[in-house]
Amino acid sequence: MFVGYYLFSNLQANLDKQGIATGFGFLNQPAGFPILIHLIEYTEANTYGRAFVVALINTFVISLLGIVLATIIGVIMGLARLSNNWLIARLATVYVETLRNIPLLLQMFFWYFAVLSALPGPKNSIIFGDFLMNNRGIYSPNPQFQNGFGFVVFGFFVGVAAAIALIVWAKRRQTRTGIWFPAYWASLGTIVAITFLSLVLSGFPVEFDLPELGRFNIVGGMVLTPEFVAVLIALSTYTSSFIAEIVRAGIQSVNWGQTEASRSLGLPDGLTQRLIVLPQALRVIIPPLTSQFLNLAKNSSLGAAIAYPELVSVVMGTTSGQTGQSIETIGLCMLVYGSLSLTISLFMNWYNKKMSLTER
């Protein structure tokens, strides 16, 4: 008690002495600093509050993209480690063991300082078709959606609905007659076909703003800055190595006897994997997988080291530096990460309860 009081009184004294305000009023004051990557409108005249939202969106976007990429790569690498092909299995092992044991910050610096900086200047950009790559970033065509595009979006949803209907129909048919129609592949094809059809019917209402070399720099197109690319690659590859291990352990956790029983019943290997091994493996995979997703979101904060404008660098770095209100800013950051963490924990608890195998 007394210790708490003592600490607090010191806090008051120090804050007063340095002229630092308390409370969250600063959120309404003009920020006065630019943010290079902003998905919503933002200028220096906007408030700190808006800067906070911009940074939040940046964190959110890179975490989401990172999670998707990391999962795809991780699953591929995990399956590769279990492959019958000795070469593929060894290569995947090298990938996993290398990335897991090197600090993420080092990997991020590697991509940012060693790889992306080594790219040539705008005048000598590397060109892949309509894409340009140089040390200012990766430039891609920027799709400009025109008036007919709403129809295409509508077409996409029609495709999705048709795909779902197809799967439902196929399942019902199997129940009735026993005949199985490969509905999953067909539904994928349906979505693609119907979306494409709506594109054609509306006369391709998309134009592409192509990046071109201007006098000193690239004009047009859409740019992915080196900061963004470095953080994304580092986060995805690093996390994918952990996900690979989780996938591998999950699949190996399924008793070999299950595969044998399924084979002895005459089920082909594809169905054995899909109906017997995968459902049991997923139970073991999902909980640690969601932990890795949370880790990736937390690790996005390392972007602060290369000035990627995510939450920590904008709020705890610049805002705190300018207003001096470190307590509020740190508290704000912790609140954001805390809620994210809580959401994921709640999801995991729900998932575990739902999936637990019924035993006596």
């Binding site: 600490l7 607090f8 010191n10 806090l11 004294a13 120090n14 804050l15 002495k17 492959s83 019958n84 092909n85 000795w86 070469l87 593929i88 290569l91 063991e97 290398t98 897991r100 044991n101 090197i102 600090p103 993420l104 910050l105 080092l106 610096f109 590697f110 300082f113 060693a114 900086s117 080594a118 937390k298 690790n299 904060s301 390392l302 602060a304 080291a305 920590v312 705890m316 705190s320 470190s326 307590i327 740190i330 950051c333 912790m334 990460y337 805390g338 994210l340 963490s341 809580l342």
Partner: protein, 366 residues
């Protein structure tokens, strides 16, 4: 009339099912798909390995005074050689390196003494945990006994990384035990405080904790009194690690059958006695792999201190590779430091797996 059964001899397997040709057939080209994969892998290796070898070994420069001395298409290992001491010791004064070396040798000798049978292990452990840190601090920081004082700001490089890692894990251990016990406690206040502490720390990135320690601690102290930055960072690292350690230990505590707790109670032991003498020894043995994994994670996390202005191994690499004489040597720097980190972390994870395997066989009851 019993016949004597003549057993057939064990023959060697048919030629086409063993040996290198058979191995290639089974493992690399067993199906068309597999063959395609093998070819793709070989192509990838062909694209990656020769250029790397030619850069890292064949065209590399091993001697020189600046980047200009290095050939363009090869690695500039001269950079590593010239700056090696700084990568190891940070900005510690050259003449005083012997102090760090002495401290390390002393530690290695002390740990080696565990192998000697005659030594009393309890005394050794107490000495290592209590006396050695004091000795080491005096050695490294100086200011007494005629040793020149070296400010902690100057400590850096691999020395700092290892120092932070070891202190972090050793200090977080008792704290983690207390938190784990507190979380399982029956006293509601203790339990809630522990849960809130653990879950809050685990929910946020380490960097917020480091910022907090770095920036906020001075605000809570009266004017003039301030902790040394390294101490603040260490407090942050310790608290962070303790939360994760607590969860690992809690897993071990949960794995101990209830009967153990009950037997200890029935013998009339107090809470602390039963914990120290019966439960914890068993629980901790179970979670050694988990503890090693926490250490590996902590070791990798020490790189973050660069963001709050301390120059660990990665920090020194950054500093050196951006100095005017050595611009453009970032790859060599990262390759070297990456290799060091990799060796250390990989060995620790192998060790953890070996321990896990040994423990598994020990606990296998069928």
């Amino acid at each position: 009339m019993t016949k004597i059964f003549k057993a057939s001899p064990s023959l060697p397997p048919p030629v086409n099912s063993v040996g290198p040709v058979a191995w290639i057939r089974q493992n690399l080209v067993s199906t068309p798909f597999n063959t395609a994969l093998t070819l793709i892998s070989l192509y990838i290796l062909y694209l990656l390995v020769p250029p790397v070898i030619s850069w890292a070994i064949i065209n590399a420069t091993w001697d020189g005074e600046s980047k200009a001395d290095c050939t363009a298409g090869g690695a500039c290992w001269a950079f590593i050689r010239v700056r090696f001491d700084q990568f190891m010791y940070g900005r510690y004064p050259l003449e005083e390196y012997w102090r760090i070396n002495l401290g390390c040798i002393l530690l290695i000798v002390l740990i080696g003494m565990y192998a000697i049978k005659v030594v009393n292990k309890t005394i050794l452990t107490t000495f290592i945990l209590i006396a050695y840190p004091v000795i080491a601090y005096l050695l490294f920081a100086g200011g007494l006994l005629g040793l020149e004082q070296v400010e902690t700001e100057l400590w850096g490089g691999l020395f700092l990384t290892v120092l932070l890692g070891i202190i972090g894990i050793i200090a977080s251990f008792p704290l983690g035990v207390l938190l784990a016990l507190g979380r399982r406690s029956n006293m509601p206040i203790v339990k809630s405080v522990c849960i809130i502490f653990i879950e809050t720390i685990r929910a946020v990135p380490l960097i917020t904790i480091l910022f907090m320690a770095s920036v906020m601690i001075p605000l809570f102290l009266p004017d003039g009194l301030n902790f040394n930055k390294m101490l603040r960072v260490l407090i942050g690292i310790t608290l962070f690690s303790a939360a994760y350690m607590a969860e690992v230990i809690r897993g071990g505590l949960q794995a101990i059958p209830k009967g153990q707790y009950e037997a200890a109670d029935a013998m009339g032991l107090t809470y602390w006695q039963s914990m120290l003498l019966v439960i914890l020894p068993q629980a901790l043995k179970l979670v050694i792999p988990g503890i090693v994994n926490t250490f590996i994670a902590l070791f990798k996390d020490t790189t973050l201190v660069y963001i709050v202005g301390m120059f660990d191994l990665l920090g020194m690499i950054q500093l050196a590779s951006h100095s005017p004489k050595w611009l453009g040597t970032t790859i060599e720097g990262y390759a070297f430091s990456g290799f060091l980190y990799w060796i250390i972390c990989f060995s620790m994870s192998r060790y953890s797996m070996t321990v896990e395997r040994k423990l598994e066989t020990g606990h296998k009851r069928n």
